[in-house]
């Protein structure tokens, strides 16, 4: 009996069942009607139904679709979002008075022209007529004023760019808007791309009562968290805050766009290497995020049709030194530390494709002084500096604590390099892997700020002044962008003076003087100028901005200038 049962080979029907299930799923799961599944969920649909709960991958036949991955979460309220994903979405969903260029200047956008008063305190913008919001209503000066007031009342996002600088906004007629400044502010026009214009009527109609902003309720924050109220080249088609946003082309957009620009632009919230690689291989992801490792980019570059683009984004990696804590309160120690890094190895092997820094701002920003000598690896020089420091002979009592960001594993390689070289010159460097949230907590006070911390900082507008302001102004101390606690009044007043200088060339020259002064004090080590890497499907995408990159976050992904072949 037992042997008879043994002959009933259970595994044969089981295996058959499993195979049949796979075949059935494969057959049914990816196809229906006119839909055909490509690999990994890539689909081609004749009808192009609305996407939901799924990811990028579906594309109606003949449709031009662009799908790119980004670090998440995404905040699409123009009074809140500032990071790369948010900036990208805002650039596509909203328009602004002016548009940044690669040279750091601005060009007309919603404003077709502007006048500046002789005292440079009054900017009068003349708006284009017929600019339509996505609901069809016309954009007027009242919307600009409302957008500005909303941004400042909420006090988040890019509001800091205008805080204390703009006294009032006036709207003498529907097509004229006047900004009155409290004091001259040279880069004012460069900051205006960050003032995204919202549809005031739509926002007011969706303000939730009982919010924190008096008669404005919640100022439409709940609504704009999930919807757009813009006039940009794209409008929200579907937004799943967990996974992706799909934006469709707005047919009545007022400005130019490439005739081959995508009909749909989907931003996908993932940076997971295996997902990105599989998606790019299958054609369900067209542009990768910039957070892949060097090894991952190498692998992506080997995929058929894929290229890896690299463009300077105006940012810099700093090893910020606490100037109020021993031993980095001593300039000689700071100089010695700067000589313990091999910058060639960093830019070629650890962060390949990045550029060696010349000074405390990225070389691509207008106002960067390219004549400042790059820092260099010099063990003998480091020894000499340490010998000249007030801690000479007792350095063993003053370990240098170096916190590197746990979420960026490559930073550990810099820390280990510094530690190894420091040992050779008798300096004890203690490396601490620290989560980002803890770093933010630590750097909020000088006594808890470590001697060294590695942090990348990017500019919010395309001028060296943006970086100098957020890095070295006294007002910015205690934020994660300024952990040096430099508090140098001379530099502070030099920055204020430069920012209030109207003449562009004069202002840029002042920036350069500040940069030289900063390098004399060396509160931070500019490890390298950051370069954003993105793998993209060059076989069907023409990424025109690569020819002339705009060093302002988000603008490289203005989809109206990206040409895509139809699926």
């Amino acid at each position: 009996m037992r042997s008879a049962l043994r002959r009933r080979t259970l595994w044969v029907p089981l295996l058959s069942l499993a195979t049949a299930l796979v075949l059935v799923l494969q057959g049914c799961g990816g196809s229906s009607g006119g839909t055909e599944t490509g690999g990994g969920g890539a689909s081609v649909s004749e009808t192009g139904g609305a996407a939901s709960e799924g990811q990028a991958g579906g594309a109606a036949e003949g449709k031009r679709v662009l799908r790119a991955t980004f670090a998440w979460p995404l905040k699409i309220d123009p009074a809140i979002g500032t990071d790369e994903a948010a900036s990208t979405a805002l650039v596509n969903l909203y328009s602004s008075l002016v548009y940044p260029t690669a040279s750091g200047e601005v060009q007309p956008y919603v404003a077709e022209s502007w006048d500046v008063s002789d005292d440079h305190l009054t900017y009068t913008f003349h708006l284009r007529k017929g600019v339509k919001f996505h609901d069809g209503t016309e954009l007027t000066s009242a919307d600009v004023k409302f957008s500005f007031e909303r941004l400042m009342a909420i006090g988040q996002g890019f509001s800091y760019l205008f805080k204390g600088r703009v006294a009032s906004v006036e709207t003498p007629d529907p097509y004229t808007v006047i900004f009155k400044l409290t004091k001259p502010f040279g880069p004012f026009l460069s900051t205006l791309p960050r003032l995204y214009i919202v549809n005031s009527a739509l926002v007011k109609a969706n303000e939730a009562a009982g919010g924190a902003y008096g008669e404005n309720g919640d100022y439409g924050m709940a609504y704009l968290n999930a919807h757009d109220a813009g006039s940009g080249a794209y409008e929200v088609e579907e937004f799943d805050i967990a996974t992706h946003i799909t934006m469709k082309k707005f047919p009545d957009f007022f400005a130019e766009r490439d005739p081959d620009s995508p009909d749909e632009f989907t931003m996908i919230g993932t940076t997971e290497a295996s997902t990105v690689r599989t998606g790019m291989a299958n054609g369900t992801i067209d542009i990768s995020d910039q957070w892949q490792t060097a090894e991952a980019y190498d692998a992506l570059a080997k995929l058929p049709g894929v290229k890896v683009a690299a463009f300077a984004d105006g940012g810099q990696m700093y090893l910020m030194m606490n100037t109020k804590k021993a031993p980095t309160d001593d300039l000689h120690v700071r100089k010695a530390l700067s000589m313990l890094l091999d910058y060639d190895v960093i830019t070629k092997d650890i962060f390949p494709g990045t550029q060696i820094s010349h000074g405390p701002v990225s070389g691509v920003l207008p106002g960067a002084d390219a004549t400042i000598p790059a820092l260099s690896f010099d063990l003998d020089g480091a020894k000499a500096e340490l010998a000249a420091s007030k801690y000479a002979g007792k350095l063993d009592q003053y370990p240098v604590v170096f916190e590197w960001t746990a979420e960026v594993p490559s930073e550990e390689k810099i820390a280990l390099m510094l530690q190894a070289n420091a040992q050779k010159v008798g300096l004890n460097v203690k490396i601490v892997k620290t989560p980002w949230t803890t770093i933010i907590e630590h750097v909020s006070k000088p006594e808890t700020t470590p001697n060294l911390v590695s942090i990348q900082v990017a500019p919010d507008y395309g001028e060296a002044g943006s970086m100098l302001d957020i890095k070295y102004s006294i007002a910015n101390q205690g934020s994660w962008q300024e952990t040096e606690w430099l508090g140098d009044k001379e530099i502070d007043s030099m920055i204020a003076d430069a920012l209030s200088t109207i003449d562009t060339q004069e202002r840029l020259a002042k920036y350069k003087a500040i940069e030289r002064k900063v390098m004399e004090l060396l509160p931070s080590i500019p490890a390298f100028d950051t370069v954003a890497h993105h793998a993209y499907r060059a076989d069907y995408i023409t990424w025109k901005q690569l020819d002339d990159p705009i060093p302002v976050l988000g603008y490289m992904f203005d989809a109206r200038f990206i040409a895509v072949k139809p699926h």
């Binding site: 049962l5 043994r6 259970l10 595994w11 089981l14 059935v24 799923l25 494969q26 049914c28 799961g29 990816g30 229906s32 839909t35 599944t37 690999g39 990994g40 890539a42 689909s43 649909s45 009808t47 192009g48 139904g49 996407a51 939901s52 709960e53 799924g54 990811q55 991958g57 579906g58 109606a60 309220d77 500032t82 909420i154 006090g155 988040q156 890019f158 509001s159 800091y160 924190a212 709940a222 968290n225 805050i241 967990a242 996974t243 996908i268 993932t270 997971e272 295996s274 997902t275 291989a281 299958n282 989560p435 980002w436 949230t437 803890t438 933010i440 907590e441 909020s444 957020i470 994660w480």
Partner: protein, 343 residues
């Protein structure tokens, strides 16, 4: 009635446990370094904006007062606003929980059926090549983390062979069925949308199987060990001498009691699936609660962390109670013990 009494008691115990969990997680999330408001608002937020958010989160109050506010709101289903998504946490949970629940249900089904089938086959073919193969694979399954399976499955079945999709819950060209339960497979069946059902199932395969592998392997090992023991018992030999068919001995007399240890573990495994799904959800871009919770921890999203842990705690305790009931159904001795405990 005795089992019912036992369940009532377990529910009361669970409420105490959940209360303790809420205190613990509330305190833990607040003592971890990092200012949640500064993290949420960024380095340039105005002082007014920071103060406003602190007041909204009651962070300007002492810890006990904060807890009272939080508990009072939570009892009304209001877990506050998420700092990540800037919308009510309850709304986030309502969106993310069904996705993880559906994934865990699928993985649980794979885990249970696969584990029992392989364990039975292995025990029945004890010391054969099938048994050896299953045991080796089970060892591998137990020691290999789910995310490794996730990556391997994605590479083999999505990257090299385009058999299964690599992300999401449904092909983007499909319209999701009207949301009733949030489980797309169930909602599509309720809507009579057979194609969406199959498509959703198709999306569940890779993440679900990857997530199930560890539990499946453990099940297979436990079922095998228990079944081998039972098949060697005297009563089985007695049944054979009475001429009872071998399949009947196996399925009716030996397998049923052999499932008890496996089922006990299954409930815990299922609850663990909900919490451990993070990396699988990340790799397959699955919009679930587990991924949401981990992101919340990284961003110190205090309200989201507390609510997510509490929800997972509820699932965990509910799964435990359910397992106790199922085990009682399988073993009359346990029913008797429950009755005594309830009395």
């Amino acid at each position: 009635m005795s089992v019912l009494g036992f369940v009532y008691r377990r529910i009361l115990h669970s409420i105490v446990v959940l209360f303790g969990l809420s205190v613990l997680i509330f305190l833990l999330v607040r003592v971890v370094p990092g200012d949640p408001v500064k993290l949420a608002l960024g380095p340039h937020a105005s002082g007014e904006a920071v103060a406003l958010m602190r007041a909204q989160l009651h962070l300007d109050k002492p810890l006990p007062a904060q807890y009272v506010y939080w508990l009072a709101d939570a009892l009304h289903g209001n877990f506050g606003e998420s700092l990540q998504t800037r919308r009510p946490v309850s709304q986030d949970i309502a969106q993310y929980l069904p996705a993880t629940f559906e994934l865990a249900l699928f993985a649980g089904a794979v885990m249970a059926t696969g584990g029992i089938l392989l364990g039975t086959l292995s025990a029945y073919r004890k010391d054969s090549w099938i048994d050896n193969l299953v045991r080796v694979l089970a060892y591998l399954g137990v020691v290999t983390p789910a995310f490794v399976f996730a990556v391997l499955f994605m590479l083999f079945f999505s990257y090299f062979e385009h058999w299964f999709p690599n992300s999401g819950r449904l092909d983007p060209n499909l319209v999701a069925p009207p949301r009733i339960t949030g489980l797309i497979t169930v909602d599509s069946l309720l809507a009579g949308d057979w194609h969406a059902f199959v498509n959703a199932l198709y999306h569940l395969v890779l993440p679900g199987v990857a997530l199930a592998m560890a539990g499946l392997s453990q099940q297979a090992r436990i079922v095998r060990a228990a079944l081998v023991d039972y098949l060697a018992q005297d009563f089985v030999a007695a049944h054979r001498t009475y001429g009872i068919p071998e399949w009947k001995i196996l399925l009716r007399y030996a397998l049923k009691p052999s499932l008890i240890p496996g089922v006990s573990i299954l409930g815990l495994d299922f609850a663990a699936l909900m919490g451990n799904a993070f990396l699988v959800e990340l790799i397959f871009n699955w919009p679930g609660l587990s991924r949401y919770g981990i992101e919340a921890i990284l961003q110190k999203d205090v309200n989201a962390v507390a609510a997510t842990v509490l929800v997972l705690g509820v699932v965990f305790t509910a799964a435990n109670i359910l397992v106790d009931v199922v085990v009682a159904g399988l073993d009359p001795r346990i029913r008797l013990r429950m009755g005594r405990e309830a009395a």
